[in-house]
Structures are given as C-alpha cells and as structure tokens.
C-alpha cells in the first residue's frame, strides 16, 4: 500500500495508546502516525481523586505527553480548529493543515461549568470546587485543609460524566478523611445525584447505596441542579429543592471538545462523536474512528473502557486499510476500582449487556467484585504503574482483554422497581 497518514486528535489515554499500538502495527514505510494535542501535559486522571486529600501530588500524576509516545510518532502541539471531513484534513488554529487517510478522534471531554447557572460566579474555586481538573483538585485540597465542619455537599450536575463512580469515591474518601481529622461528627455529608439511585446500574447501586448509608452519607436522588449560589451556599434543583452547603464539590456538565462541535455533522447535541458501538468506526465517515470519552457510546467514560477500545480500534484501522470487514470486537467492557476509604476498595466489571455483578475478577480466583477489600485498594494503587508502563505503551496485560470475562461472576436476582435507570 502507499504510505498512509494516520492523524490522532488527542494525546491522552486513548490517543496515546492508539498511537503506540498503531506505530507497532505498521512499518515506518507504510504509515506515519501523528498525534495532536494543545498541551504537553498528560494527566493520570484517576489520580485526581486523591489530590484533594493530599494522597497524591500533581507532580506525581502529570507527565509530558510526548514522552509517552513511541519513537516514530510525530507530536504536534496546537489547538484543532476543525476537521474538513470532505477533504480529509485537520485544520489547526495556527493554520497548519494535516491531511489524513485515517482520523482517530480521541479528544476526550470538556468540562462545562459555565453551562450551569451561577456555578462559575463568585464562590467558584472558593467554596465551590471540582476535582475533575488539576487546578480544581489542588484548590479543593487547600479548601479541605481549612474545612472545620459544616455541610459538605458532593454533587454531579448531569450524566454523562467521566468515571461515573468518582464522585461516590470522593464522598467515601471525604468521610474517611474527616473521621481521621476528628471532625466527621460536626460535618453533614450529602451526596446529590440526578440519578434515581447511588449509581447507574441496579445491582451496583444497591451495594453502593448501602455503603453510603453505613458511612452516614445522606443520599439525595433525582436532584437536577438548576442553579448554584456560591456566596450564599445554596444548590437549587430545577424542581425547586434547595441544598445548603458550606463546601460544594461538584462535577460539572461534560461535553465534547470544542473542535468536535465546530465540525459539522461529526457529533451529537452534546458534542460526542457518533460512533459504532462495536467497531469504533464513526457513523459519519468510514475513515474516521473514535474512542474513549469522546464517543457517544452507551458505556462508561473511563480509562479501562478506552484501553479495551484501543485494541479493537487498532485492528479495525488495519482492516480498513486493506478493505477487510471490520471486527465487531468491542462489547462495552468497563472495569473500575471504587475507593471506599480506610485502605479498601471495591471492583466492578461490566459491559453493554451485563451489569456489575458480585463474584471475582477475572476468574473465580481473582479480585473480589462488588465487595470492599484491601486487595482491591492495592490494585488501584498499583494501577498507576501499570498505566504508565503497560497501558499507554500498548502492551498486552495477561488475562485482561477487551471482552468481559464471565468466569468468576455470580448472577443475582434483582427487583426492577429499584432500578437506577433514569
């Protein structure tokens, strides 16, 4: 074949893994691999959860993007203006034009706090914080240091969000942190969610809901945030309910990257790329693929999902180049550790069809699923090493493939009335 140009938009988890896998897959004579990102800071995003509690420092979780890319991958630092889908070109704001044979959109999500009335008004980053970006996580660390009791409200504005369990983990860790400091008794901890239960999936919701109860965290459901008053300390839902707070930890609305929205026809109303859920080819053009948080796929926006997708996407780009039928290899597989504090964590594993179930992962002798254990907490800590040294380079991890394992899972019964689907 003639030499192909592969342009990957985004040098985060999905873009980096894909670039490294594609670079290994193709000879340098057969394809050039380009990665575009607007900055050179690769954030290990699972680490952000720990920053507010002083359990991780920003320096530990941020590394240069370029250094995570294999030799032979070209890194372009610049902001994407839009994509000329008809001409197969990416236009950067500085005027650079990158022609492509295959485009991979891996641009993740953009936080949109300004879409919620009052959220970015006075009080923002003073008593209203998000830990979903490095600056917010660091600001929250300082605010928590000075927090001396009162009402701490943890809130997610609306789905979809990255790592849907992270706000719950934050609430669990906050409970632990406040107990360690001896101020838990004078703190009311509230978890407000637009969902009708603690989590999106029914069986996991039952487990997580009862954990909230055990930790004396008040659960407020179907709370659709309409307005935030950061000075007055009040969160108001669209149906008129008010939650007072001394400190608000919120997860703002998520949308796709700005250039995705500026590219006509690429995305849905929220800016997520319309993507085939099993091949990862976009439904917009056959030479455009997408993975990770940037897609509109009905699965979690999480690094584990992106990792499983990268394997399928790499295979399908190769097949696309030789006109072979694409592999319908992605099943929605997600795998998440959920920190619950006190050196413990839960693990959940699920896909499009199977919700998180109890049992063990990946086989009957693996890590316990949906149950608090120290082993899972150690797994979560060890994962950071795995992320930099195995996941990003695109190495296979034995026993952990794209398809969800069923060997260790127990089917349990569940009453649909208590479902968490909105």
């Amino acid at each position: 074949m003639s030499k192909k140009q592969i342009v990957i938009l985004g040098g985060g988890t999905g873009g980096t893994m894909t670039a490294n896998r594609l670079r290994r897959r193709f000879d340098a004579d057969d394809a050039d691999v380009h990665v575009v990102d607007r900055d050179d800071r690769h954030v290990y995003q699972p680490g952000l959860l720990f920053v507010p509690f002083g359990l991780a420092a920003l320096d530990d979780i941020v590394r240069p993007r370029q250094r995570q890319l294999r030799n032979g991958v070209t890194f372009h630092q610049g902001e994407v203006a839009w994509v000329e889908l008809e001409r197969n070109e990416v236009v950067l704001l500085d005027g650079t034009v990158l022609p492509y044979d295959v485009l991979v959109v891996a641009s993740g999500v953009r936080l949109q706090p300004d879409e919620t009335e009052g959220l970015t008004e006075p009080g923002w980053n003073e008593r209203v914080f998000t830990f979903y970006d490095p600056a917010g996580a660091e600001g929250l660390r300082l605010a928590l240091e000075h927090f001396d009791g009162g009402r701490l409200v943890v809130n997610l504005v609306d789905m979809p969000i990255k790592c849907p369990v992270a706000p719950l983990e934050f609430a669990f860790l906050a409970d632990w942190h406040l107990r360690e400091r001896g101020i838990r008794a004078r703190t009311e901890l509230v978890y407000a969610t637009p969902l009708d239960a603690a989590f999106t999936k029914p069986i996991a919701s039952q487990h997580l809901g009862s954990l909230l109860g055990e930790k004396e965290i008040e659960l407020v459901t179907e709370f659709n945030t309409g307005e935030v008053d950061g000075i007055g300390g009040a969160l108001t839902s669209y149906d008129g309910r008010v939650l007072d707070f001394d400190l608000l930890v919120t997860v703002p609305l998520h949308g796709g990257a700005a250039f995705v929205e500026r590219t006509l026809g690429l995305a849905d109303a929220l800016g997520f790329v319309s993507t085939d859920k099993s091949t990862l080819q976009s439904t917009v053009k056959p030479n455009v693929f997408a993975l990770g948080d940037a897609t509109d796929l009905p699965t979690s926006k999480a690094g584990s999902v992106t990792h499983f997708e990268a394997e399928v996407l790499t295979e399908n780009v190769a097949r696309y180049f030789v006109d072979a039928e694409l592999e319908c290899g992605f099943d929605g597989h997600a795998n998440c550790f959920i920190e619950t504090g006190f050196h413990k964590a839960l693990l959940i594993d699920f896909n499009y069809e199977t919700e998180p179930l109890p049992g063990h992962f990946p086989t009957a002798f693996g890590l316990p699923l949906l149950r608090e254990s120290r082993l899972n907490h150690l797994g979560k800590l060890a994962f950071q090493w795995v992320y930099w040294h195995a996941l990003l380079p695109g190495r296979e991890i034995p026993g952990i493939g794209p398809a969800m394992p069923t060997a260790g899972k127990r089917q349990t019964s569940f009453t649909p009335e208590e479902g968490a689907v909105r």
């Binding site: 789905m159 999106t200 999936k201 179907e222 669209y238 149906d239 609305l253 109303a269 929220l270 909105r422």
Partner: protein, 105 residues
C-alpha cells in the same frame, strides 16, 4: 408486561406505565397519561416537546436525555421542568407513548 386501559383501546405498558408498543399511541392516550401524571392540560408547548421526543425516538431508536432535549428542542431546561415537573424527559416520553429513556452510564 401488562395491558391496561388508559383511554379506549387496551395498550401494552411496562411496570412503570410506559407504552411498550409506540404504535398503540394516540392523542387521547397521551392526554389520559398526562392527566394521570399530574399534567392537567397539554398546551401547545407540551405537545411540541412530546412530539419532539416521540419523533426522535421513532427515527433514532433512542429518546434524548433532558440535557439533549433542552439543546435540541429549543425549549430551555427550566421551562421543561415547568411543563413536566420532576422528570421532563421521562414524563414526556411516557406521554408520548415511547419507552422510558435509557439513562446515561
């Protein structure tokens, strides 16, 4: 799945009262469901949203979430809550005779 008498013909509904077969829907059924769920009168604005939800579902197989509904229908989210208290996307889907919108994950 059960059948229930909402208006004249029997329609198939799920445990929460959402029609499972959108073809059994008509405007009388919509009004009956609305009345049952605390919306006494369906105004033009209500109909705009109900028809938008229904149309979107029939064309794409998915009903929009509240946020997408606000962006795409042109009816601000605040007004959606005034029209359909509690859960606009859910209630408009119910009245529009389509399945309950799947929550985001």
């Amino acid at each position: 799945m059960t059948t229930t008498l909402i208006a004249d013909p029997l329609v198939d509904v799920d445990a929460e009262g959402f029609l499972t077969n959108p073809e059994q829907w008509n405007e009388q059924i919509a009004e009956a469901i609305a009345a049952d769920n605390g919306v006494a009168e369906l105004t033009d604005r209500h109909w705009l949203v109900v028809r938008f939800m229904r149309d979107r579902y029939l064309r794409t197989g998915n009903a929009p979430s509240i946020r997408a509904l606000g962006k795409e229908s042109g009816v601000p989210v605040k007004e959606l809550y005034e029209l359909f208290p509690k859960g606009p996307a859910k209630l408009a889907a119910k009245i529009g005779g389509i399945p309950k919108p799947k929550g985001c994950i």
